[in-house]
Subunit: 152 residues, 2 copies
């Protein structure tokens, strides 16, 4: 993981405005949407300690509603990609792998912020508050004309 393009990718992840998560829907089409980028240290300073424990293997976490379409798609097919991009410098970084729905309460509590109440009125023990965890098996970097990739 000491490759330069991965270090640059991790820096991008920590700055990117959003994470673009793509699941595969029931008809076999990719389906993409923006997610809160919990590794963005400016937007989520309270999560930096927790998230940085997973910098070494690039494990990503996302919060979402258990009742969302994406969760049902993931239960049906766990293969996903997450893409981060800075369009100005034309730098992109993709993480690919099988994502899981985390039921561990300690993780759910560690990622809880009071501002999540607007999404999950029931709070951090709400059944509709779900965590997705992706430990990527493959990453690919795009930096202007250069592409680099690695199986992890």
């Amino acid at each position: 993981m000491d490759k330069e393009f991965i270090k640059q990718g991790l820096e991008l992840i920590k700055k990117a405005d959003a994470a673009y998560l793509t699941t595969i829907d029931k008809n076999g089409f990719p389906s993409t949407r923006a997610m809160l980028n919990l590794k963005n240290s400016k937007k989520f300073p309270k999560l930096v300690d927790f998230m940085s424990r997973f910098d070494d293997d690039l494990t990503l976490f996302f919060t979402t509603n258990t009742s969302s379409v994406k969760v049902s798609q993931i239960i049906n097919n766990s293969k996903v990609s997450v893409y981060y991009c800075d369009p100005e410098s034309w730098h992109g970084f993709m993480c690919q792998g099988e994502i899981e729905v985390v039921s561990d309460k300690s993780v759910k509590h560690s990622l809880w912020l009071d501002e999540w109440e607007m999404y999950y009125p029931g709070g951090k023990d709400s059944e509709d508050y779900a965590i997705l965890k992706l430990k990527p098996g493959y990453v690919k970097s795009y930096y202007q004309f250069n592409q680099s990739d690695l199986e992890l």
Copy 2:
């Protein structure tokens, strides 16, 4: 196509910095990368006339290298999504469908810009200059807390 969320989606497409194209790779994983957003009227003023002919059915065109990984993925599986996003306003718009590699020379010439030479040194008749065309069969809009979708 007179639905408000589609009009807003088209406005977003015309302003978005990049288009995020997701193909499905040989292992069945989604694979995402940024593409030049040829419908961005500020970035590509010379293409506005051509691209706006397809505003009604949201048909999208992309330029790429015939030799690229994405083209081989598309030949194997044509199901894709293209996502546009303004992370600041939390507005996203996804177009989904089966994408095709266009061989029609008149289309290739219509989309040619001299600045493409850096990607396709052989010019507009280069075999490595490819056009992808997506007429979406399904669109989905995300605007803060609201989601809307439509089969086209």
